[in-house]
């Protein structure tokens, strides 16, 4: 993990450090300034201290020399002298002067031409000089143009001359010159000559050079004309006086230092003899107008200052470092968990919900955040789980809906309810949400078809489940009880018994007798069906609706009936049809439905449903379908077969139980009146035999039929022909149908000596009547044996008829015995 320069820790640290830097900078600046000032003050004080004694000493000496000069000048003007007097005077003066100021090395007089003692014309210059051992008198000449003489003569005032190395005193000397006057006739002062006191300044060099100054400093004396006259020997280093120039630093430039126009004392930065930069304190030597300086090389001078700065800087840096570390620690303390949280969040983003949220101690904001984050994770996880659950539930609901819909019968073929006496088509378009519409159709027996349509209140899973239960109970009840009303009553009871959600279902169900078109029906609060008659007229079936199912346990439904004519179509529907709503909130409605059915003309059942749906679509346009749209249409084709009242009894034909059968019939007939009895006597006796489809069972069937027919005393021929027919039909079933079970129903009608044999097999659909008859005129070589058996049957029997009834083939033959 590298250091993140854009991280919180770094930014924070940087900002705090910047602030601290500014504070430190300010403190440092102020401290520096203060220190500078203090140091300057200290330096000045130091300089003053160093200077004071020396300047005083120098002043004292020079002032003494000056006084000597003044004193001597007075003596000279008071007394006119001879040459020897002058010599004595000079020697005496020098002696006296040296007693006062040992640095005095000569006393000199020089006169204007012709003005000297015993000198009527020409120069006169005489001096007494001390040369370290003795005193000598010397005569000088050519002085009138010399600086010391000329300046004093012309200025007519006494003064200190710039030091020079004398003609007679071979060492640097400072000379104090005093003009000499004499009163003329008019009493006015006339300049007659100049007196000079020569003072060696060698001592200055020694004295000044040896003055101890702190911090490697030294002292320096310059004349009024800024000529250095006293300085440490080290400074000379072969340089001449005039090379030792004091310069002042002004900005970046160095200019020659001049005390003129400045305070009598002060401090400046500059150089001496082009040496290193120094701090220089100067003060005026009043007696000579010379300058006394104390010089500290700047390095040394700054040493304290920089030492202090260094110390401060060091402390600052130390503090800086400590603060930096502390900030980093704090920042990392803050940033690290944040970083970890960010990492966790990233993992989370990738879908890893098991990511560990770093545990935070304490109760600071970061810990709080981590806690919140952890909470968020948990809740997110829960939510996603919930979402997943929801998704799963939704998927499962879809699945449930699919199962639910797929359990509804699709085609009659699948339900094995198809035959030629009717035609039927269901239609169910589910709404988006799971709904509770259903339809059903099934055969109760060969001749009775039950049709059901229903609508469970509400939507969703509950409705769907309820619908399935209702449908299954109703179907089972109807099949077992063979009565709509009984089935309704029982189903209602079963549903109402445990109906804690108070759901209910509207149902319309009818049992159609496929032979007659008679419908027994009942309605549990459902819309009355529409009938489209063969002639194109339409009407609602007068249907008295009972209470919806599952509402009350003890509801009793009323059986109603309706007679369908040949070609009538019964149209069942749910309110998804009549309550289809358009954008103007108008319902499709009963009238429009009637109109639509009427318009459908003689369309078959499937197309009738589709047509209604199209009309609904036209009506609602783009308004989404809210409810399931469910329809079921049945067309009654009718049947030409005679219809008999039907009584059923199953007996075992293997034993001798003909009497049982007889009493069964008698029991039915006895209560009947004459005509009816006559009719009933004409009824068919019915026998049934079920066998597995294996060739050997043909004998069983033959024996079964012979056993029934023999007592009827028919002709042998008919008996034989029936046997052949059994042989042909059964062997066909065995060979070609793939059936596993054959039911043979033998019906005999004693009145007319007629027998009817109905072969019911569960094999693949096969209508033998439709087969082409074999050509029986061909010669033997060209004959095909196939189809001959059925051909024989057709030829020898009175009638042969076929019906595909559900999953069975029904082949019936009749024969007069």
């Amino acid at each position: 993990m590298g250091f993140n320069f854009r991280g919180l820790a770094f930014k924070q640290s940087l900002m705090i450090l910047a602030a601290i830097t500014i504070v430190f900078g300010l403190i440092f600046g102020i401290m520096s300034y203060k220190t500078q000032n203090m140091l300057n003050k200290m330096t000045v004080e130091n300089g003053e201290e160093t200077s004071r004694a020396n300047v005083n000493y120098i002043d004292k000496l020079f002032n003494a020399s000056k006084l000597i000069g003044e004193d001597l000048s007075h003596k000279l003007t008071d007394h006119p002298m001879t040459k020897s007097d002058m010599d004595d005077f000079l020697l005496q003066s020098l002696f006296n002067a040296r007693n006062l100021v040992p640095q005095v090395v000569a006393v000199v007089v020089a006169y204007e031409p012709g003005m000297g003692p015993e000198t009527p014309k020409g120069e006169y210059m005489r001096l007494a000089r001390f040369n370290h051992t003795d005193t000598k008198l010397v005569t000088g000449a050519n002085y009138q143009d010399k600086e010391w003489y000329a300046s004093t003569r012309d200025g007519k005032t006494s003064r200190w001359q710039e030091p020079f190395i004398g003609e007679f005193v071979p060492e640097p000397i400072a000379v104090y010159t005093v003009p000499l006057f004499k009163k003329d006739k008019n009493g006015e002062d006339v300049l007659v000559g100049v007196l000079a006191v020569d003072m060696s300044i060698e001592f200055l060099k020694e004295e000044i050079g040896s003055i101890p100054v702190s911090n490697s400093g030294y002292a320096l004396v310059t004349t009024a004309k800024n000529l250095a006259v006293a300085y440490p020997k080290e400074l000379a280093q072969g340089k001449r006086n005039r090379d030792i120039i004091v310069r002042e630093k002004r900005g970046q430039k160095l200019i020659d230092f001049d005390r003129k126009g400045r305070d009598s004392s002060g401090l400046f930065i500059g150089t001496v003899a082009d040496g290193e930069e120094s701090a220089i304190y100067y003060t005026t030597i009043n007696s000579t107008n010379w300058t006394f300086m104390v010089v500290w090389p700047i390095q040394k001078y700054l040493e304290d200052q920089s030492a202090m700065r260094r110390l401060f800087l060091l402390m600052a840096l130390g503090g800086y470092g400590i603060i930096f570390v502390i900030i980093l620690l704090i920042s990392f303390r803050v940033a690290k968990p944040l970083k970890e949280l960010a990492l966790a969040a990233r993992k989370l983003g990738r879908g890893n919900f098991d990511v560990a949220i770093p545990k935070m101690k304490g109760r600071d904001e970061v810990a709080e955040f981590a806690w919140a984050f952890s909470n968020m994770l948990t809740e997110l996880k829960d939510n996603i789980e919930k979402q997943k659950d929801m998704k799963r539930i939704e998927r499962e609901l879809d699945l449930a809906r699919n199962i639910q819909l797929s359990m509804l019968p699709g085609e009659e073929r699948d339900e094995n309810s198809d035959d030629d006496r009717h035609e039927l088509a269901p239609f169910l378009l589910p709404a988006k949400e799971v709904g509770g519409d259903f339809y059903d159709f099934f055969k109760i027996d060969n001749d009775h078809l039950c049709v059901v349509i229903g609508d469970v209140s509400g939507k969703g899973v509950a409705a769907a489940l309820f619908m399935m239960v209702a449908r299954i109970i109703l179907r089972t009840m109807t099949k077992n009880l063979k009565s709509v009303v009984d089935a309704f009553n029982k189903t209602n009871y079963a549903l109402a018994k445990r109906n804690r959600l108070n759901m209910f279902v509207t149902v319309w169900a009818g049992i159609i007798d496929l032979r007659t078109g008679h419908i027994d029906f009942a309605s549990a609060g459902h819309n009355p069906p529409v009938v489209r008659h063969n002639d194109g007229s339409v009407e609602f079936i007068p249907s008295k609706a009972g209470l919806v199912m599952a509402a009350m346990e003890d509801t009793v439904y009323k059986q109603q009936s309706y007679e369908m004519k040949k070609g009538d179509t019964l149209f069942l529907y749910t309110d998804g049809v009549t309550e289809a709503t358009n954008s103007e909130n108008k319902l499709f409605g009963d009238d429009r439905l009637l109109e639509t059915i009427k318009k459908s003309g003689d369309l078959d059942t499937a197309n009738t449903c589709t047509f209604v749906k199209k009309e609904i679509d036209k009506f609602v346009q783009d308004v989404p379908q809210f409810d399931d749209i469910t329809m079921l249409a049945v067309k009654f084709n009718g049947s030409d077969e005679p219809v008999w009242e039907r009584y059923e009894k199953t007996i075992d034909v293997s034993g001798n139980n003909k009497g049982e059968l007889k009493s069964f019939v008698e029991d039915i007939l006895t209560p009947m009146d004459g005509a009816k009895k006559m009719q009933m006597q004409d009824a068919w006796e019915r026998y049934e035999k079920i066998v597995d489809v294996i060739p050997e069972n043909q004998d069983i069937l033959t024996a079964f039929v012979e056993g029934i027919l023999a007592p009827m005393d028919g002709s042998m021929k008919s008996q034989m022909q029936i046997n052949i027919a059994i042989d042909e039909i059964y062997s066909n079933i065995v060979k070609f149908s793939g059936a596993t079970r054959v039911t043979l129903i033998v019906e005999v009608r004693k009145a007319t000596l007629t027998a009817r044999l109905t072969f019911i097999d569960n094999g693949k659909p096969y209508d033998p009547i439709k087969q082409a008859d074999p050509d029986i005129t061909l010669p033997a070589e060209e004959r095909e044996i196939g189809g001959l058996g059925i051909f024989i049957v057709k030829k020898t029997m009175d009638s042969v008829s076929y019906r595909r009834n559900g999953e069975n083939n029904e082949l019936a033959i009749t024969k007069t015995l």
């Binding site: 004998d699 042989d727 029986i776 010669p779």
Partner: protein, 98 residues
């Protein structure tokens, strides 16, 4: 069904008793199939035959086809019921019925 075969040189008489139907036809088929070599005259005696179904007709047709090539075939003593079957199926046109 009972099958009685009587051989006399190149003539063969087959007498049937009972029913010649789907169940019994295979027996007859087994007696005839490949056993007519050298037979010039084949006689079916249906005196005791109760009835015949299309399965029996099939065997008669097969035998007739064979005998058309090597000799003659006669059906004797058929009952009127059986004759009626021959009538309706057009077998009376291809069989020699005496």
């Amino acid at each position: 069904m009972q099958i009685t075969k009587t051989n006399d040189n190149d003539s063969l008489t087959i007498a049937l008793k009972g029913r010649l139907d789907t169940l019994t036809a295979p027996q007859l088929d087994a007696e005839i199939q490949g056993k007519l070599d050298g037979v010039k005259s084949l006689v079916f005696d249906f005196k005791s035959l109760d009835y015949i179904s299309s399965a029996g007709l099939r065997i008669l047709l097969m035998a007739q086809k064979v005998m058309n090539k090597q000799g003659s075939m006669v059906v004797k003593n058929a009952s009127s019921e059986i004759k009626e079957i021959f009538e309706v199926t057009g077998f009376c046109d291809i069989l020699t019925i005496e």
